[in-house]
Structures are given as C-alpha cells and as structure tokens.
Amino acid sequence: MPALPLDEAGKYVAGAYVAFLALLLLYVAIMAARIQRIDRELAELAEIAEKRIDRPAPDSAGADAGAEENARGEAEGKVFERERSSRQEVIP
C-alpha cells in the first residue's frame, strides 16, 4: 500500500476530521432546536399556570355562599325549634 504524498493525504485526513466535527455540530444544532422547543412549551405552561393563579378559584365563592346558607339554616332551625317547644309549653 503506497503512502500518499502529504499534500494529497492531508486533504483526506482533514476531510475525515471535518466530517466528524460537522456531524457533531449537526447533532448539537438538532439538540439546540429541541431544547428551544422545550423552552417554548415551558413558557406556555408557565402562562397557563399564571392565569390559574390570577383567576379566583370558582369554588371558593360557592363555598362561602353555601356556608352562609348553612349558618342561616341552622339559625332558622334553632328559632323554629324554640318556637315549637314554647308552643308545646303553652298548649296543654
């Protein structure tokens, strides 16, 4: 196998090393694109989460109203019970 002269062999050697580096760079570029996509998705999710934090929870108002109604109902029940017992006391 005769050795190639340096000027001719150098092109092939440089070609091999440059091809390897180019492949590596291509991979890094693809990875960078994927990371950018992940970054965009993360930003979208952060936006959704922030919107949810800013908006008052819809159940809290309902829960307050329910609690008020319960309290009112309990008070009315107590009044009714008192009236009935007093009526029973009055009616022989």
Binding site: M1, A3, L4, L6, E8, A9, G10, Y12, V13, G15, A16, Y17, A19, F20, L23, L24, Y27, M31, R34, I35, I38, E41, L42, L45, I48, A49, R52, P58, D59, G62, E69, R72, G73
Partner: protein
C-alpha cells in the same frame, strides 16, 4: 460511571478529545506503510469501537427492562442505540474517506469488515420504524427491548465471524503477529478512545436529559390542561343543587 456535576462530563470530554487530537498530529509518528493518511485511524477506530460497545450496552439495558419492567431502562436502551447509530454514521463517513485515500474506492463490497459493519448499522436503522410502528407504549417498549437484545447478541458474533474470516485488504492493527502499533501510537489511540467514550457518554446523557424533560413537560401539560378542562366544565354546567338544599 456517574457524574453529579452536569459540567464535569462535557468538560472532561472536550479536554480528552482535544488532547487526543493534539497527540494525533503532534506526538504520534506517521505510519511507515500508510504515511499521513493513517491519522484517520485515531478517529475512525475509536468511533467504531464506541458504536459497537454502545449497541451491546443497549442490549444489557434492554435485558434490564425485560427483567424489571421499568420503562427507564427502555429509554436508556433507546438512547444508547440512538447515539450508537449516530456514531455508526460517523464510522461509515470516515471509513469511506480512508478507503478512498488508501484503496481508491469509497467502499469495498467484498471486504468482510466493512460489509459486516454496514449490516449491523442497517440492522439498527430498522429499530426506529419497528419501534414507532407500535402505538401501545408497553408493547412498543417490550418489542424494542427484544430487538435490542437480539441485535446486541448479533454484534459480538458478527465481530468474531469477521476476525475469523481471511481478509487481505483491511489491516489488523491489533493482531499480535503483524506488528501492531508503536508505544506512541498506542498512547495516542487510547487517549482518543477515552475521548470518544466520554463523548458517547456525554451525548447519551444529554439525550436522556432531553427525553426526561420532555416527558415531565408532557405530564405537566396534561395535568394543567386537564384541570383547565375540569374548571371550564364546572363553569359551563354547574352542579345543580338538590331540592332539599334550596332553603
């Protein structure tokens, strides 16, 4: 091998590869037979070794997946095959350039070493269509693992078969009877091999990190959007009160 600090492994990889390439051009002597063109050897052979070892590592990870049923092993096996296929592309490109310079042809079809590597490479190229042709995630992972184990067993068998074959074209630099490498060449080769192995590990680690982040993002999106749908549904159609509760 585990590196907790995320920057240590890439830094070590860059350092080792740079040192290896510096040794190739400033320390290792020119080959008496091939001359300067033999410098491709320090690039081509370490990449080939890492690619083939990566396929075998993927097979072991697939075995772990089949034994334990943990999907993380399947992901690791996928990543190992993925990086090894990329390394395989580099092997074919650098090998073709070397072949063109040494033999005057880009590829020699009756040379067992070249053809066997091409067969292994093409075999692993079928891994992707096989994997993504199956929609069910569990079946996909199981079938991919079976493929990885079978193909992984094929790699050393193929290597042994090629070593047993008589070839007059492809050099056997590690053969004991044919001289082999000088000490300076051996040191240079080992540094380049270490650099390539570290590069393989680094890329596999990046790929795993990207995959894991995407999976976590997907889970987060499903959770958030699921909540949004539930909240939206409750706003549109509130749960009616029972007649007794009306007060």
């Amino acid at each position: 091998m585990s590196f907790n600090a995320p920057r240590i492994l890439p830094a070590l990889t860059v350092l080792t590869l740079t040192a290896g390439f510096a040794l190739v051009f400033f320390f290792a002597p020119n080959d008496a037979d091939q001359g300067f063109i033999q410098k491709i050897f320090y690039l081509h052979v370490p990449i080939a070794i890492c690619a083939l070892v990566g396929f075998i590592v993927a097979a072991f990870q697939a075995i772990m997946h089949l034994r334990t049923g943990e999907s993380s092993w399947d992901v690791r096996s996928y990543v190992s095959i993925h990086i090894s296929v990329i390394f395989g592309v580099a092997v074919l490109i650098t090998g073709s350039i070397w072949a063109r310079a040494s033999w005057g042809k880009w590829f020699v079809w009756d040379e067992p070493t070249l053809v066997s590597f091409l067969i292994v490479f093409l075999l692993y190229c079928t891994y992707y269509p096989l994997r993504y042709a199956i929609e069910d995630r569990e079946r996909q992972a199981r079938y991919a693992s079976v493929f990885a184990v079978t193909a992984g067993a094929f790699v050393p068998l193929n290597f042994i078969a090629v070593r047993l074959a008589e070839s007059l074209v492809h050099p056997r630099v590690f053969a004991t009877a044919e001289g082999g490498l000088t000490p300076k060449m051996t040191v240079t080769f080992l540094v380049c091999l270490a650099g390539m192995a570290l590069l393989w590990l680094t890329l596999a680690r990046f790929e795993l990190a990207a995959k894991s982040t995407r999976a976590r993002l997907g889970r987060l999106r499903r959770a958030l959007e699921g909540d949004e749908v539930a909240v939206g549904a409750s706003r549109i159609a509130p749960v009616p009160r029972q007649a007794g509760e009306a007060g």
